[in-house]
């Protein structure tokens, strides 16, 4: 509480109330007074994140019907984060002093934005691989050898399908949708879980080296590919 003697003209209140009814914080700093670049080098505590993330999983796990449902909920938690990060990182990524000027309009530039800029901002390093699926032109895969979100998560045997990186998949989905690249789904999968298929060839050795390797499968909607094709022809 401010002492009444120091500010005789202003009524002493914990919150100043403007004529419009707007309540300002005591330090008079609204979100508009904060610098968007402030946290560029400030990393957050990993332990604090792990604690929070476990609570988030706990919250998502209430009254779920199955693993798919749980992953869907984790996905939904990450989605709004992706929408926000897209604009935040675009406004940050340009060279300091230079205002933001570009946005991703092509598939490849969007995917590169995700694997480098987004991954670096979230995890401090770029993603380990970006591949286009051989099976379908609409599918892209981003692999992460050791997802940060799974560092302190050990999945019980009966839920071995569950990958909590579904949260990160939700973030990726938010970025894609926000940028105007509608996705059918973005999902997180363990590699080496399925028998046979393309991943199984080197899967044995990979599995030993990176037991937590996760692949994010992005399925784009049909109209995105059609637009991409048209843009490709125009050039």
């Amino acid at each position: 509480m401010a002492s009444p003697a120091s500010t005789p003209s202003v009524p002493s209140q914990a919150l100043r109330i403007a004529p419009s009814g707007l309540r300002y914080p005591t330090n008079k700093k609204t979100i508009y007074d904060r610098n968007l670049n402030r946290t560029r080098n400030a990393e957050l505590s990993r332990a604090a994140f792990a604690f929070l993330f476990i609570e988030m999983i706990n919250y998502a796990q209430r009254q779920v019907k199955g693993i798919t449902d749980l992953e869907k909920r984790l996905n939904n938690q990450g989605y709004p984060l992706g929408l926000k990060l897209l604009d935040l990182l675009l406004s940050r990524s340009s060279t300091p002093g230079q205002p933001p000027t570009t946005r991703p309009t092509r598939l490849l530039s969007l995917l590169q934005f995700i694997t480098t800029t987004l991954w670096k901002a979230l995890f401090g390093r770029p993603a380990d691989a970006l591949e286009r699926s051989a099976a379908s032109p609409a599918e892209y895969m981003i692999s992460d050898n050791e997802p940060l979100v799974n560092t302190f998560v050990s999945v019980p045997r009966e839920m071995s399908q569950l990958n909590c990186a579904a949260y990160v998949a939700g973030v990726v989905e938010g970025v894609c949708d926000g940028a105007g690249f509608r996705t059918v789904s973005v999902s997180a999968h363990w590699t080496g879980n399925e028998d046979g298929g393309s991943g199984a060839a080197g899967g044995g050795r990979e599995k030993v080296m990176w037991p937590g390797k996760t692949v994010f499968l992005i399925r784009f909607a049909k109209e995105v590919l059609e637009r991409e094709e048209m843009l490709g022809k125009a050039l």
């Binding site: 979100i31 508009y32 968007l36 604009d87 406004s91 000027t101 637009r227 843009l231």
Partner: protein
């Protein structure tokens, strides 16, 4: 000059609207749209959305310069990363003497004053770009609010003050 600034969401719904006048060359920052022109502004701005959608994927830049004109009004556009559209309609003010009472002989002179505004001049484009970038900065801060949903209206008086300040600073 009078300006009408609108932020349009991804579903073509208006999120924020602000009207102001020029502060350069002794302007007092008050919009001077004629009464019959004022209610046309939302229509003009929204009709340019079609053109904006055609240009949207053509270039990867956020600032798309002047995209449309209607009579003597010009519309400049800016697209954010999340495909929210910023549109600025600028209309040169009519000189007070030209409000219809002058004989037709002098119309060429008023037309000259009219056409002195050149929306494609580098200085004008740069000023509008700077205005958009300043608003974009405030916009990113708005959407950082965890309670903000996509396509929700922005009612914050602080945001309005920021837009007003950007207008005073650059336009």
């Amino acid at each position: 000059m009078s300006f009408y600034f609108a932020i349009i969401g991804t579903k073509d719904n208006p999120l924020f609207v602000h009207e102001f006048g020029t502060s350069k060359q002794g302007g007092d920052g008050v919009a001077r749209f004629r009464d019959e022109a004022r209610h046309m502004n939302p229509f003009i701005v929204h009709s340019s959305l079609d053109i904006l959608e055609e240009l949207q994927w053509g270039s990867g830049s956020m600032y798309l310069k002047t995209i449309d004109r209607f009579q003597n009004s010009h519309i400049s556009a800016f697209l954010t990363g999340g495909n929210i559209k910023f549109l600025l309609l600028s209309t040169p003010d009519l000189p007070p003497i030209a409000t219809g009472l002058r004989p037709p002989a002098s119309s060429s002179r008023t037309n000259a004053a009219f056409s002195s505004f050149n929306p494609t001049a580098p200085a004008t484009e740069e000023a509008i770009k700077n205005f958009f970038l300043e608003v974009y900065d405030a916009w990113v801060k708005t959407i950082m609010n965890p309670f903000y949903r996509v396509d929700a209206e922005v009612n914050s008086p602080v945001f309005r003050a920021r837009v007003g300040a950007a207008g005073r600073k650059f336009l």
